[in-house]
Every structure is written in C-alpha cells, then in structure tokens.
C-alpha cells in the first residue's frame, strides 16, 4: 500500500485511491450494520431476551431494514432551527470519524497511511467531531438537544486529556507516534505487548475511550430518561443516521486503536501460533474489544454528571500522570 501512495498523482492513481476509500467505506458500513445487530443480540442474551429475530434468518437483516427505514423516512427540519448549521452538523460529525481510520495499520502490509504523527492525528481529528455534536445541539433550537450538546462537549474535552496522556507511556516505550512503529515495537508473546507493562495506562485509556464514545456508563449526552435523546432529538431520517453512523465508526476506530496500542496489533498471543495470519489476530482482538464495550453497556448504570467530571479530573488524570512518571523511571533505570 505504501508504494502506491508514494507514486505521483495521476488520474489513474487518484481513481485507485478513491476506489480503495469506497471499498473501505463499505467495509465500515458493513461493520456498523452488524455491530448494531451484535449489540442488540448480546444485550438481549444478557437480559434473557432474544434480541431481533424476525427480519431474515436469526434476525440478521434487522439492521438493514432499520437503515432502509431511516433512509426513506421524511427529512424534517424544525421551523425555528438554524437551517444551514442543522444540515452541516451531521456531516462535520461524520467526516472526522471516517478520516481517523486512515492511520490504523491492520497487518504489516495492509494500512492506508503510515503517518509520522499517527496517534496525534487521531486525537486531533476526533476532537473535530465534538464541534459537529455541539453545533447539532445548538442548531436544533431545542433545550434538550442543547443540554445534550453541552454535556457532550464538556465530557469529550475533559476525557480527551486523560485519553491522550494515558498513551504517552506507550509512545515512550516505542519511541514514536507512528501507529505502525508502535505495533512493530511489541512482540509475538502476550507479555511482550504493551498491555501488561502499561496496565495503568490501559485501564485509564479504556475508561476514557468509553467516555469519548458517549457510551454507557458515560452516555449522559443522550440520557433517554433525562434528555429524551440528547443532541439529536430533532434529527430524523438520514441525518439522524449520520450521527449514529459516526458513533459506531468511532467504536470501530477505538477498538482498532486499543488493539494497535495495547493488544499487539497483528501479533499472535504466543509465538508458536505465528502460522495464523496477522489479520485474523487483529480481527479477533478487535472483536473482543467491541464485545467488551457492549458487555459494559449491558451491565453498568449511568453515572451522575458531577461524578463524571470529578472522576475524569481527580482520578483518571492523576493516574495517567503517575503512569508517565513510572514509565519514565522504568526506561531510565532498567532499559538504559
């Protein structure tokens, strides 16, 4: 893939790039469709229900039917809404969600861009989505959506700091921000992954990531019982679908990022299992992380706003800082 990117840009190459982007978009859309199905099934089983069973065999076409319904639904825009921003907000939310996927390496040869500052690129672009959410809440001209948007912005800003600081330890161990180099720095046994040496960083990262995704137990921006649906209360049809899509694409991105940073990417858990291709290992770890997120949603209650804020600033941030100091001391004393 790298040789392809380094070639000069001709019409043919440009079309190849576009083709790959479209193929990848369809893979992500397929993931989103079945992630929603998987989530409903898993939560259903955990609560002794069946989940979707009616549309198609085992309910496999349920999400497809839902998407079709969303697409042919009437597109409503409230009369007193800020029309331009209302239309723009879902796009601003979705575009960064898809753009962050460009830096994630899936196997040693399958990746889209090996950026020098890959990790920082991820953090920077994902902060742009917040603007879309807050603008959507604002433009709807609805008090619930405004509160949802404000909560979302406050939460995403305060949890982005521990999220970025918790991965500094990983960056220090691998000596670079390039995600590909971070995976290559980890070994083919599970104790050589960043998971065990960076266990504090991993825990902080996971908690902050769930919060960044606005998922239970941190789903305050869309708390149904308080805010109806949060920032997308006034949205319907395909605009609403865009917000949901962005949310699930971030699930994809965070699960891939966790796999890359802490779970060794394409490396097998034991060196003797090396004969199984790397992409399969990546997918297996990825699915485990996605399952963990759904599992969390089925088990945890929602926490209060003040608890959320004090937890982020008073617990996660100091922990992430301690992690940096411990890692620095370890590198200084043991490695050097």
């Amino acid at each position: 893939m790298n040789e392809l990117i380094q070639q000069t840009l001709t019409w043919q190459n440009g079309l190849i790039f576009l083709g790959w982007a479209i193929v990848f978009l369809f893979i992500v859309l397929g993931f989103v469709t079945y992630a929603i199905y998987f989530e409903r099934k898993v939560i259903g089983w955990m609560q002794f229900r069946h989940g979707p069973t009616r549309v198609g065999p085992l309910g496999l076409l349920q999400s497809v039917a839902d998407v079709l319904k969303l697409l042919i639904k009437e597109d409503t825009i409230p009369q007193k809404a800020d029309r331009t921003l209302f239309i723009l907000a879902p796009i601003i939310t979705f575009v960064p969600a898809f753009a962050v996927l460009a830096v994630i390496p899936y196997t040693p040869s399958l990746y889209f861009a090996d950026l020098n500052v890959g990790l920082l690129y991820y953090a920077a672009l994902s902060s742009l989505s917040t603007i879309g959410i807050i603008l959507g809440g604002w433009a709807s001209n609805n008090k619930y959506s405004l509160i949802g948007g404000m909560r979302s912005a406050a939460q995403m800003i305060s949890y982005e700091i521990p999220l970025v600081i918790s991965v500094v330890g990983v960056v220090m161990l691998s000596g670079g921000l390039s995600l590909r180099r971070i995976v290559e720095g980890q070994g083919s046994n599970f104790w050589e992954w960043n998971l065990l040496p960076q266990i504090i960083g991993f825990v902080v990262f996971m908690i902050a990531a769930v919060s960044e995704l606005n998922r239970t137990p941190f789903d305050l921006p869309e708390a149904e019982s308080e805010l109806v649906a949060g920032y997308h209360v006034e949205y319907s049809g395909f605009r609403f679908a865009f917000f949901m899509l962005a949310e699930y694409v971030y699930v994809f991105a965070i699960a891939s990022l966790t796999t890359v940073l802490f779970l060794g990417g394409w490396h097998p858990p034991l060196a003797i299992l090396d004969f199984i291709p790397g992409l399969l290992w990546f997918m297996l770890k990825f699915v485990c992380v996605v399952f963990f997120l759904f599992w969390l949603r089925a088990t945890m209650p929602r926490i209060r706003v003040d608890q959320l804020m004090s937890f982020g600033w008073k617990v996660l941030l100091p922990l992430a800082l301690i992690n940096i100091f411990v890692t620095a001391a370890y590198i200084e004393l043991v490695v050097k």
Partner: protein, 188 residues
C-alpha cells in the same frame, strides 16, 4: 517582476484549493451576521491552514493546529457564545465611502505585499534532511535541549494564568454565596 512561471502539479492545485478555503473562511467570518456562523467559518480557516502545514511537510504543526485551534479554541468560542448574549445580530451602518476606502486600502496592501514578495530573491536553502524527514523528533530534541529554558518559563506562565483564572472564578462564586446567605438571613 510580472512574469509568473506557474507549474501545474498536485502540489500547486492542492495549494490553490486550500488557499481558497482559507480566504473564503476568513471572508465569510467577516461577512456573516450570526456569531456562531462566524465561529464555524473560522474553524474552516484553521483546518485550511493545517492543510497548508501538511503541504509544507510540517505534520506535527498541522496536527497541533487542528487539535488546538480547530478543536479546542472553536469549542471554547462556541461555549463563550452560548453562555453570553448571543441573539443579537451584528448590524453595522453601511456607509458608501467606507467601502471605497476599504477597497483602496486592500489594493494598496496587495500591491505592497506583491512588490515585496516579487522583489525578494529567495536563496535556495541547503536541504536540512532530518528536520524534514522526522520533524516531530527533531522538534522535540530542539525544545528539550536548546530551548528548554524558554519552554519551562512558558509553562510556568501558563500555570500562573491557569491558577489566576481559578482564583478569579472562585472569588466571584464566594461573593455570590455571601450575598445569597445575607439575603437569606434578612428574610429570616
């Protein structure tokens, strides 16, 4: 001075697109009447600037530009607008001669900049090599070795400003509390 040897390649086309983004963002920011629209167009300008940094192979600066300016500063401004009075539209009296004067000023500025750029000869800088290749690493080395004292001073300054902001906010809140309890006592 006026001969332009413009080369059409991917680089220059991308630069033109980004330049249009930046300038239109800035112009719309001045032109819009609602403040929140201004912020969005300003964010657009910031993203365009980040694109120019990418073109100049300064990836680190580009990502920091998006992280700090397009992300944090824009959200801060949106928060500021929502917390304060935001409904009023900005209305300025339109005066005929003001527009003409502004136009003349713009032309003069363009002339000055154009003249300055065209009359300067840019010496071809010898390739710096490692700085362009792995500029994040080189930047880190420079900051933490050669420029470590200004860096530390700057962080102390920021910390002081940060604590000052907390003290000011806290003071206001305490005053309000005192006033609130005073009225409660009066009522009793």
């Amino acid at each position: 001075m006026f001969e332009l040897n413009f080369v059409w390649n991917g680089h220059s086309i991308l630069f033109l697109i980004l330049a249009v983004c930046i300038i239109s963002g800035a112009v719309f920011m001045l032109h819009f009447s609602k403040i929140i629209h201004m912020v969005v167009s300003l964010a657009f300008t910031f993203i365009g600037l980040a694109g120019v940094y990418v073109l100049l192979e300064a990836e680190f600066v580009a990502t920091v530009q998006i992280l700090v300016y397009a992300g944090a500063i824009s959200i801060l401004m949106i928060f500021g607008i929502m917390m304060t009075k935001h409904d009023q539209l900005e209305e300025s009296p339109r005066i005929q001669w003001k527009g003409i004067l502004a136009g003349v000023g713009c032309l003069a500025l363009f002339g000055a900049i154009f003249f300055a750029i065209r009359s300067t000869s840019f010496p071809s800088i010898p390739a710096v090599g490692p700085l362009a290749e792995d500029n994040t690493l080189e930047l880190g080395k420079q900051i933490f070795t050669a420029h470590v004292i200004p860096f530390e001073l700057l962080s102390v300054l920021l910390t002081v400003a940060f604590i000052g902001a907390i003290v000011v906010a806290k003071h206001d809140a305490e005053e309000k509390e005192v006033a609130g309890s005073a009225t409660r006592e009066e009522a009793e």
